[in-house]
């Protein structure tokens, strides 16, 4: 399939609704995200953040409304879209009984990555796991799992990267490495990140969005945000103190 003609917006969401029985996990969510932007999504537990990412990554179908990522519709062009997105979750999405290298080779095959061996080696070096490439993933620490998870997500050179609480459970050193990796690839990718950490999320983002009860409470470019006002809105919405 050819690339869509206009992809100025990396993500276009219009009246997106997702229901589970009587419960509305997403309620007419609408926003745009330009190509190359970094969107941080904030909100309390159950706000619909993960459901939104699941819809945008084609893992869950929307009940109503439309969503396009890189110009591809999440329902009609799901297969084509999947080869253009990557997901880094707090869950590593790796097979514990395969080695680091075997995991990456497997996913390279799933994405049809050309010259997979070279690409795998290149990414293992980039995430500083080359020396552990033959070790089973079940022996890895949380930080190492997350680094390998990043390599998995980048294998097929996706245009849009979704990060679902990627810093969750990481020690300070692993946070540093993840920060460094994101910085390295920042210029070539569009990011959509779910975060509970307001400081971290705001520091990284070019756009911010607050979701509550499935609805968009606030959506704005970073430069238009007054930090104190944003924190107040966040606090009022989430009902929690801001660290």
């Amino acid at each position: 399939m050819t690339e869509p003609a206009t992809i100025d917006a990396a993500v276009e969401v219009r009246d997106l609704t997702r229901t589970f029985g009587a419960r509305k996990a997403l309620d007419r969510v609408t926003f745009d995200l330009p190509t190359g932007a970094f969107l941080s999504i904030f909100g309390p537990n159950g706000a619909g953040k993960t459901t939104l990412v699941k819809v945008l990554t084609t893992l869950t179908a929307p009940s109503k409304g439309t969503a396009k990522v890189s110009g591809f519709d999440v329902v009609a062009d799901a297969v084509e879209l999947r080869s253009r997105i990557g997901l880094i979750s707090h869950n590593p999405l790796l097979y514990p009984d395969l080695s680091a290298e075997e995991n990456l080779v497997f996913f390279a095959d799933m994405y049809g990555v050309p010259d997979a061996a070279t690409r795998v080696r290149e990414l293992l070096v980039a995430v500083e796991l080359d020396h552990r490439r033959l070790d089973l993933v079940r022996t890895f620490s949380r930080g190492m799992l997350q680094r390998l998870s990043i390599a998995r997500a980048l294998l097929h050179r996706p245009k849009v990267l979704f990060l679902d609480e990627p810093y969750s459970g990481l020690d300070p050193h692993a946070v540093e490495i993840l920060d460094h990796l994101i910085e390295q690839i920042r210029a070539d990718h569009t990011f959509v990140m779910i975060s509970h950490d307001l400081v971290k999320g705001l520091a990284l983002c070019s756009h911010a969005l607050i979701l509550a009860k499935g609805k968009v409470v606030l959506s704005a470019p970073r430069e238009e945000l007054d930090e104190a006002e944003f924190a107040e809105t966040y606090r009022a919405t989430v009902g929690l103190g801001v660290a």
């Binding site: 990554t57 084609t58 893992l59 179908a61 297969v79 084509e80 999947r82 080869s83 997105i85 997901l87 979750s89 869950n91 590593p92 999405l93 790796l94 097979y95 514990p96 009984d97 395969l98 075997e102 497997f106 996913f107 095959d109 799933m110 994405y111 049809g112 998995r152």
Partner: protein
């Protein structure tokens, strides 16, 4: 473009199958549990039939006993084949890739078929040793592997579909059993009939064998096509 897509699908199919075999060789979870279960079932059969007396010929119920063991053994393995995909969100990662869902189905079903055939190969000699005395096997030898293969294809195909359905449910073992046994009923009847013809031989056994094989082939074709069509919906649910 179509050739490219076919090439990618083949690469994905081989990758999933290879990954499942490598993981099984490493963990031996399925083969060990299925093999042990099948062998223990044989021992229980022997105890159960030990007081049946000399007038009773176990060959008359041999096919039924065999398929009973295979059905319950396969249910044990089928659940495990999907459970490791759920570990650490691996199924989600698989579904995130640009793979046509039927490719996942066929790769998982072929993997399950291979493991079930291995268990069958291990079980048959033990069964023959315990229940089929020397010289008592009256059918054509080639009928047995054909009947086992046709039955195993149906079990693996339907089982893979149902295991995918049940893996997200709370009582997955219970759900799989409740769905699996009624759906497998026609296949089991045909498999027992064909295997009985192979074991007992005699007049009309070849015809009985081919009738059973025909029914199994029909069941396999219908169920595999239905699984192929439904898998996208089921795996995404």
């Amino acid at each position: 473009m179509a050739g490219e897509a076919r090439g990618l699908s083949l690469r994905q199919f081989k990758a999933i199958l290879h990954k499942d075999i490598v993981m099984e060789l490493r963990t031996k979870e399925m083969i060990t549990s299925m093999g042990l279960y099948a062998l223990l079932t044989m021992v229980i059969y022997q105890v159960a039939l030990s007081q049946s007396g000399t007038a009773f010929d176990p060959r008359n119920i041999a096919a039924g006993l065999l398929w009973l063991a295979f059905v319950f053994t396969s249910m044990l393995g089928l659940n495990r084949s999907l459970v490791h995909e759920k570990d650490q969100g691996c199924l989600e990662a698989l579904l995130l890739s640009p793979v046509d869902r039927p490719v996942i189905f066929f790769a998982k079903a072929i993997g399950n078929l291979i493991f079930l055939l291995i268990v069958q190969v291990l079980t048959i000699p033990v069964f023959a040793f315990l229940f089929l005395q020397q010289g008592s096997y009256a059918g054509e030898w080639w009928m047995i592997p054909l009947a086992l293969l046709a039955g195993a294809i149906g079990i693996s195909g339907v089982g893979t579909l149902l295991a995918t359905m049940s893996v997200n449910t709370k009582g997955k073992d219970f759900v799989l059993t409740v769905l699996f046994v009624p759906l497998m009923y026609p296949l089991l009847l045909a498999a027992v009939s064909a295997t009985s013809a192979a074991v007992l031989g005699g007049d009309g056994s070849v015809q009985q064998f081919w009738t059973g094989m025909g029914m199994m082939a029909g069941f396999d074709a219908i169920m595999l096509l239905a699984s192929f069509a439904l898998y996208e919906f089921i795996v995404g649910a």
